[in-house]
């Protein structure tokens, strides 16, 4: 179990050195999107249209924050459950997405895409939303404002704490961790 500090955008080299269970502190720009926004992003790709942000090397954070209090860039902002993005993630990974941050299990298609195109699924601590918000220094809605909390935001983060759940080698922290502690 290693610890890394990484800056976005992420390269193939960055993600290839990560193994499930590693702790990573991410800094730089990333984008937020939940399932409603993912559906629109994938529709754009299918129709050959331009995305509202460059997906190459990008990290997407699965979050629908609370409204910011005056003076704060963002409200509380913990991860949402990731399986809802499973139908859309592989095509984004194919187009260069390098990291996803959420919580909970991914399906085989997402794990396979992580292996094939080199991308990583990070887990953040669900319910640690006030703590995680501290790592988000700036936030700006850049697409789909009508989706409210589900709008796409460009966020700037500093030392955003995550754990590698699915790496580029097919490992899965949830499966390994559970096997280690399961009592038959």
């Amino acid at each position: 179990m290693a610890e890394y500090k990484l800056k976005t955008p992420l390269s193939d080299e960055d993600v290839s050195k990560l193994k499930s269970g590693d702790i990573v502190y991410l800094s730089g720009v990333m984008y937020t999107a939940r399932d409603a926004a993912h559906k629109r992003l994938v529709d754009l790709i299918i129709n050959g249209e331009e995305l509202p942000f460059d997906v190459k090397g990008t990290v997407i954070y699965y979050v629908g924050p609370t409204p910011p209090k005056p003076g704060n860039p963002i409200g509380s902002a913990g991860p949402t459950t990731s399986y809802r993005m499973d139908p859309y993630a592989p095509i984004l990974i194919e187009h260069g997405l390098k990291g996803m941050i959420g919580k909970g299990k991914r399906n085989e298609a997402v794990k396979d895409a992580c292996k094939k195109y080199k991308a990583v699924y990070f887990g953040a601590t669900g319910g640690a939303a006030a703590l995680i918000a501290k790592a988000i220094k700036k936030a700006e809605v850049i697409a789909y404002p009508e989706l409210g909390p589900e709008a796409v935001r460009r966020i700037e983060v500093e030392d955003f704490p995550v754990v590698v759940v699915n790496d580029t080698y097919g490992n899965d922290l949830y499966e390994e961790g559970r096997k280690l502690w399961e009592q038959k």
Partner: protein, 286 residues
């Protein structure tokens, strides 16, 4: 007949929502501290430490513990000798909910189940809530409130077993629900189990059981024992905090049954309502 003012109910509900979503319930705080002490996996301990730190930040800054500030769920007991002046109790609950969520900078999470459009403009901010009313003797209004997030609701399940399945069948069903849920509902969890009544009532009871404070024993000794057995068995699953693997998956199992443990002679309804570690529940008596 005692008279309660509509505006007073609105304000009490608003204040309760803002406090409850930013201050971890004392029973959950204690349970997480104990889990942190007992957890044997380092990864899960690190997660629990983050949750305790999160609770401090949320409390100090009056910031939501979790961005999913939930659907507003109410169980309301209305005394037959109390009357609301200036509007109906139901309207007061709706208005208090909208005000609490909007003025508290909480998330509006209600949407149309087909179009998925947020309902804040059509119905009101985070409206409508889910409200269960019950009539009781007396001149008080008792309101229990919970902010119930979507992640733990999504893995909750209900079934109707054959009576022959018995206690073992109930245990097997609960184990399957928690095991299948794995990391998704944000463990460590409180597992609410409603047994008996009807198909729908078992689900309502499973939700209501989550209002009981962790550590308060079940008044029925047989069910208390079943809760303890289930907790021990569920913790053998090894899921751990946020599913990272560990020994502390379930903080408590709460079982609720209908009056006289009733159900139909042909049925054994069982419902499991999962509560994440961000348990936000409180109650007021007006």
């Amino acid at each position: 007949m005692r008279v309660v003012k509509y505006e007073d109910i609105v304000k009490s509900i608003k204040d309760m929502i803002i406090y409850s979503t930013t201050h971890l319930a004392p029973d959950m705080q204690k349970a997480l501290e104990e889990a942190y002490e007992n957890e044997k996996s380092e990864v899960s301990r690190a997660v629990l430490a983050q949750l305790l730190e999160n609770a401090v930040i949320a409390k100090n800054e009056w910031k939501p513990l979790c961005q999913d500030t939930g659907l507003a769920i109410y169980f309301v007991k209305v005394g037959t000798d109390v009357k609301v002046e200036g509007g109906s109790l139901k309207e007061a609950i709706y208005e208090g909910t909208a005000k609490g969520y909007e003025e508290g900078y909480l998330r509006a999470s209600t949407c149309d189940c087909f179009t998925r459009a947020n309902l804040k403009d059509k119905a009101g901010y985070n409206l409508p809530p889910i409200v269960y009313f019950d009539l009781v003797e007396g001149d008080k209004i008792e309101i229990e409130y919970a902010a119930k997030g979507g992640g733990s609701e999504n893995v909750s399940r209900a079934t109707v077993l054959a009576p022959a399945a018995g206690k073992e069948g109930i245990k097997e069903f609960v184990r399957k629900v928690v095991s299948d849920a794995g990391p998704n509902p944000c463990p460590p969890l409180v597992v609410g189990v409603g047994i008996g009544g009807s198909f729908d009532m078992s689900a309502v009871m499973s939700k209501h059981s989550l209002f009981r404070n962790i550590g308060t024993p079940n008044p029925d000794p047989e069910l208390d024992m079943l809760e303890k057995e289930l907790k021990e068995e569920l913790n053998k699953l090894g899921i751990g905090a946020m599913g990272m693997g560990g020994t502390e998956t379930v903080l408590a199992v709460h079982i609720e049954t209908y009056e006289n443990r009733m159900c139909h002679i042909a049925s054994l309804p069982v419902a499991v309502n999962i509560q994440c570690h961000s348990s936000r529940h409180s109650h007021i008596t007006i």
